[in-house]
């Protein structure tokens, strides 16, 4: 009797473990189905085709900002969305990336892939340095530590004039050639394309690559350990998720992506001033992540597109928004300065999304799909098995 039960259990165990193995192997593949492979190909076609067709400079800068900020937001999404750690220091790593890119790609004249890699590596390494300190802190104390990075970065970069030009800023003439392609002045056939078009193409390709990277790291063993530590630190440690390893992956990936974002920002703006990397920028990345949808694959990029578009729309329509000071109003009386409108908008967006729509735009779209399906089902005559 005993032996029979044992044998059955063993058989059962082997069967499930084998099918789990198959399941896990399937899950671990870079692309799960022909559909996702087709989507990747479609994205690459779009990323190359769209910039070539687009000539409107407003759209070019909007989409480029969306892609560049999307890279940084992917970083904060790893740290906060997936790993549940809080950080206000993202702007520091972005500034590190920007200045490393300028030093290597502009002053030393390294080629495109090298300065991108240099920025990401230096940023990631600094993130790793933070781990021993962050391991000791949680919650608000972790936030205070990362907030300190912004202030320390401001001091260092304001006074390191040789690198950053101090408070006047520094122009960035980055080398943009990758092999025979020069993104700063692409020539295809007889057509010559502008710098802005090249940067857009590069940043779209890069953000796609980063989305794929983050998505797949998060599906890997380490990625699952990171999410598990977020949801139950002790339980995750008991089943073998090393807290040091998960933190190392989280921090290096997150700050590396932030630095990559900084490098691309330098490439996009062609001029960098250290005072743009302030606390406001850190908050902006968090706004982007939350508006898009935390711990989702595409959320940060969608959020970045939505949030980057905001200041442009606000300045365009400032005259028809209530409570805004118009040029005709003079200096007295109540009215929000147009220059500060986007700050107010960020603040209100944060509050509105966190209170009413915590899963962000991606969550909104998903619930829209669910509602749509339910509507379709309601329209059909019900069968006996449907409740």
């Amino acid at each position: 009797m005993d032996t029979a039960i044992t044998r059955v259990e063993v058989d059962h165990g082997e069967a499930t473990s084998a099918s789990y193995d198959r399941l896990i192997r399937r899950e671990m593949r870079l692309t799960k189905s022909w559909w996702s492979r087709a989507a990747i190909v479609a994205y690459i076609v779009l990323a190359i085709g769209l910039p070539l067709e687009l000539t409107n400079s407003l759209w070019l800068s909007l989409l480029t900002s969306g892609a560049v900020y999307g890279i940084g937001a992917l970083g904060i999404n790893v740290l906060n969305g997936y790993a549940g750690h809080a950080s206000l220091g993202h702007a520091f790593f972005v500034s590190v990336g920007a200045f490393v890119a300028i030093q290597t790609g502009s002053t030393w004249g390294w080629p495109l892939p090298l300065w991108l890699i240099a920025a990401a590596v230096v940023g990631g390494a600094l993130g790793v340095l933070l781990v021993p300190l962050a391991m000791r802190l949680r919650g608000i104390y972790e936030i205070i530590l990362t907030l300190g990075l912004v202030y320390i970065g401001t001091y260092i970069f304001t006074n390191w004039r040789g690198l950053t030009g101090g408070s006047t800023g520094v122009p960035a003439q980055l080398k943009m050639n990758l092999g025979f392609i020069d993104f700063s002045q692409m020539i295809i056939g007889n057509e010559m394309y502008t710098y802005e078009q090249g940067v857009l193409m590069l940043s779209l390709l890069l953000v796609g690559l980063c989305v794929l990277l983050v998505h797949n790291v998060m599906r890997s063993r380490t990625g699952r350990a990171i999410v598990a530590s977020r949801d139950g630190a002790l339980a995750a440690e008991v089943v073998g998720a090393s807290p040091i390893r998960t933190r190392l992956t989280t921090y290096s990936l997150s700050s590396g992506l932030a630095a990559l974002c900084g490098a691309m920002l330098a490439a996009q703006l062609r001029y960098v001033n250290e005072n743009q990397f302030n606390l406001q920028l850190s908050v902006q990345f968090i706004v982007i992540m939350i508006v898009g949808g935390a711990a989702t694959t595409w959320g940060p990029v969608i959020g970045a597109l939505a949030v980057s578009a905001l200041p442009i729309y606000i300045t365009t329509y400032a005259s028809s928004i209530p409570f805004v000071k118009q040029p005709t109003d003079g200096t007295s009386g109540f009215g929000i300065m147009p220059g500060q409108l986007s700050l107010v908008a960020y603040g209100l967006l944060l509050a509105v999304f966190l209170v009413l729509q915590p899963s962000g735009l991606v969550g909104l779209a998903k619930s829209g799909v669910v509602l749509g399906r339910r509507a379709v089902r309601l329209g059909r005559p019900r069968t006996a098995t449907e409740g």
């Binding site: 304001t158 908050v283 107010v344 209170v355 915590p358």
Partner: protein, 301 residues
């Protein structure tokens, strides 16, 4: 030596303000388990409100201060009910405290713009209720503003210490902080405790803001709330949690910042004073992660 004493006194004055701001964070953090940086908004609004009633409406300084405190309290309680409670009540997810913090950061940013929208972006002067006269003791001359800041802060801190350590409501607050459920079983109403905590925190923040607003030369401006970030290392340096720890941390922070700014050679560049406290905080984290006066468990809030 004279320089040193002068710097030390103004450092202690600045430190007392940091201590008050840090205290207002810690009181709410301990009583409700929620860290709310919107106290920085109180620090920002208070001097403007005092300005509006004292200078614009011509009311006496004390009454203006009282009205400002009441308005700030009402605003803080209202926001707590309509914004922060719903988030905290949702419960269960890892990012709860982060959500509260981010909403507060967002509202703080918006309130900077709101202040400029109402009162304009020019710095305002409060006619300086403390007086700018210098008091000379031997060769040391001290501004009476620094001395009155230290005096007011000491009185307030003593009052808070008495409230927390020697009264029933203070004991209830500490009970809620150490074990929420056990405190409820003992018949303590958490809503009352968090209400009292909000009131105390708001008073501390209003006083800190008003005293900052009278700063020599600086006046009232829309970046006063930055002090709420600069005061945060006090929580780590002091070890967090205790009233004594965060106030001592704040005072140390102020002294460090003033001395660093006063003695740094010009080659160290701009902003050295504000840079030093953060470096000190990081060094302390390496050497003594539980802070100067803290026990390690408090930091895991």
């Amino acid at each position: 030596m004279t320089d040193f004493i002068q710097l030390l006194v103004s450092g202690i004055a600045l430190g007392c303000l940091y201590g008050l701001v840090a205290l207002s964070f810690v009181i709410v953090l301990r009583a409700t388990g929620v860290f709310n940086i919107l106290q920085g908004g109180v620090v920002l609004f208070a001097p403007y409100l005092v300005y509006a009633f004292h200078v614009q409406k011509g009311l006496p300084f004390g009454i203006a201060l009282l009205i400002a405190a009441v308005i700030c309290m009402a605003g803080a309680l209202l926001l707590d009910r309509i914004v922060f409670r719903p988030i905290a009540r949702r419960g269960g997810t890892h990012g709860q405290f982060f959500a509260v913090l981010m909403v507060a950061m967002g509202l703080l940013t918006a309130s900077e713009a709101l202040v400029i929208a109402i009162w304009g972006s020019q710095p305002l002067s409060m006619h300086d209720p403390w007086g700018l006269a210098k008091i000379s003791i031997g060769s040391v001359s001290l501004t009476s503003r620094d001395l009155s800041v230290i005096g007011v802060a000491l009185v307030l801190l003593a009052a808070f210490w008495f409230l927390l350590q020697r009264t029933t409501i203070g004991v209830s607050m500490r009970a809620v902080a150490s074990d929420n459920e056990a405190a409820r079983i003992q018949g303590i109403n958490p809503a009352v405790v968090s209400g009292v905590a909000w009131v105390c925190a708001t008073i501390a923040a209003v006083m800190a803001g008003t005293m900052l607003g009278t700063e020599v030369g600086g006046g009232i401006n829309s970046t006063i709330d930055q002090v709420s970030f600069l005061a945060l290392p006090a929580l780590i340096i002091g070890g967090g949690g205790s009233v004594f720890g965060c106030v001592a941390g704040g005072v140390l922070l102020g002294i460090l910042q003033t001395l660093a700014a006063g003695y740094a050679p010009a080659s160290f560049g701009a902003g050295f004073g504000e840079f030093v406290p953060w470096v000190a905080m990081i060094l302390l984290l390496v050497v003594r992660p539980s802070g100067l006066f803290g026990s390690s468990e408090l930091r895991r809030a």
